[in-house]
Amino acid sequence: MFSKILIANRGEIAVRVIRACREMGIGAVAVYSEADRASLHVRLADEAYLIGPPPSAQSYLNVDRIIETAKTAGVEAIHPGYGFLSENPDFAMRCEQERLVFIGPSSQAIRAMGGKTAGRSLAAKAGVPVVPGATRELSDQEVLQAVKEIGLPVVIKATAGGGGKGMRIVSTEADLAGAIRAARSEASSSFGNPAVYVERYLGGARHIEMQILADGGGRVVYLGERECSLQRRHQKVVEESPSPFVDADLRARMGEAAVKLAKAAGYTSAGTMEFLVDSGKNFYFLELNARLQVEHPVTEMVTGLDLVKEQIRIAAGEPISVRQDDIRLRGHAIECRIYAEDPFNNFMPSPGRIHTLRSPSGPGIRVDSGIYEGCEVSIYYDPIISKLIAWGRDRDEAIRRMRRALGEYVILGVKTSIPFHLRILEDPQVLAGQIHTRFLEEWLAKGLVGAKEGLAEIALVAGSLYLHTKKPLVQGSGGQGGPAESLWKLAARHEAVRRR
């Protein structure tokens, strides 16, 4: 087993990997940009090294600097988290060359499957159904041509994409050029690669993905599915496991297809096969995510496995710790991604200082967070600041726990998606599990429900008392019956409270 690992990432996922390292007795080495000196992952790591200025291209994507740091710190392996360099075959290859273990699939496997187009073409060869569209990257001109063939609506996707970045749905020809430009630009800044392709957009389908683990000894297992249909702008918003739509038969068919594909690609480590599933329970392979997923905790909570530890063990040459027959899904888990964005203002990103933070806890609740009270949410990076995960014996209990925990979660100073999540999880269709990939967009088009009724009075009362108590005592400006005296009483009461 490794004695020290470098984590080439930041935020909640770096914290997640640090925790796994600590539990395994492995030293955790963080890297940070100048914007992240005071970040939680730096504080919690055993060691931390500066790797460059705030923009990702100069820090978290700076391969030379990261490799150099790994050597200085004397680590044996690098965990890339998700995003950044996690699916970059050149980085994986560079690690291989430098005799650093890349905690993920081999560079060959990433090339074979990690790029979205390569994965599609391999799947088609292996006999797994794929969504109609291109199987290689396209020029702008070729995209226009392909769209003519497959028909609108289509989705433009970055071949190196992930997390909804570099992805645009296009329903009218007029929007095509702009969408290609935006997708390339986002892809370029997020993944250092502007390549895009196009595929048919299957509206009304579900996005369901299958988690697999594959080790160097040839064992491949599937860990059940995740339902990820609740998306906005192709960003997953809420994920759950199991899917309310998947029965044992469909799970086995999808799981076996995923295992077949992983074997065909010589894939190792944790990976996810994304599928679109239509109402007839037909599934179409979308892409392989050749890394840990943001939403891996829901699988962890229903299987009891720790996917990061499995990744590390596999990278160290150890076998997966379970056999297919021993994998049991228990209960139901659901995740809400807490974004720093304003759901009431077109989901505008909301960087800033978190001046107040109260986190939920108690039965069935897990918080994977990269924030703390007083921290800065930077403009430079992804707006995921925390993930809230709830487990219950069944879907109903999981959702009730999630709502309870969302109600306890107070993040002030930046806007967050918490009110959005609370409203999603009260929708009757969501509660019934009747969702698809366009569900949230359609639901949002109806407008977000505003503030609950009846709280304005409380706010008005609280505000006036707040102003009243903070007023300098000398300034007794009229009012009914000796305000100065009553203010003194109040001050005395506060003192008493404080002394208690």
Partner: protein, 168 residues
């Protein structure tokens, strides 16, 4: 102490008639008995007829309070009555037909200008693309007009609230 409080287009009269435990607050016609207990920082615990509320208060400007109750934000402007200050006229003036200002909704970077000075724009037309937190956000014209002034250039960093483009 008596306040006029503006919230969502309505003005409320709020009078603190007694402090202590409980305090008494008259809101329009009704008097509320309130146990108002500071917890830590801007957090207060309110008990109103037994109902328990957690309330976070942040002062955003003189008399302007952001007040969260059960996860819901209320932005309220309080003015002490008897003080004869006039409220400053509301900023902006985004009414139809008047000049529009396209303002950065958050700190970020100008990725692309989609219009040129002097160009005519229609309502809903994209004017400028701002990137923050790895997401590109296209800001649109709220109504038709002519681009009068572009105050930033591509690649520039901008602060939240900064005026980017003026359309007349």
């Amino acid at each position: 102490m008596s306040y006029l409080a503006d919230f969502q287009g309505r003005t409320y009269r709020v009078v603190v008639t007694a402090m202590g435990s409980p305090a008494a607050v008259q809101l329009d016609e009704t008097t509320h008995e309130v146990d108002f207990t500071p917890i830590v920082g801007g957090l207060f615990s309110l008990l109103v007829k037994g109902r328990s509320y957690e309330v976070d208060v942040v002062e955003e400007g003189e008399g302007v309070l952001a007040i969260w109750v059960e996860g819901e934000l209320h932005r309220i402007e309080f003015e002490e009555t008897g003080r004869h200050r006039r409220k400053a006229a509301r900023a902006g003036g985004q009414g139809k037909g008047g000049p529009q200002t396209i303002v950065a909704p958050m700190p970020g970077k100008v990725v692309k200008l989609l219009v040129a000075s002097g160009q005519e724009v229609s309502a809903g037309q994209g004017v400028i693309v701002i990137e923050a937190m790895k997401m590109e956000n296209e800001l649109k014209a709220t109504g038709p007009g002519v681009v009068k002034e572009i105050k930033v250039q591509e690649g520039a960093g901008v602060g939240g609230g900064e005026v980017l483009v003026v359309i007349e």
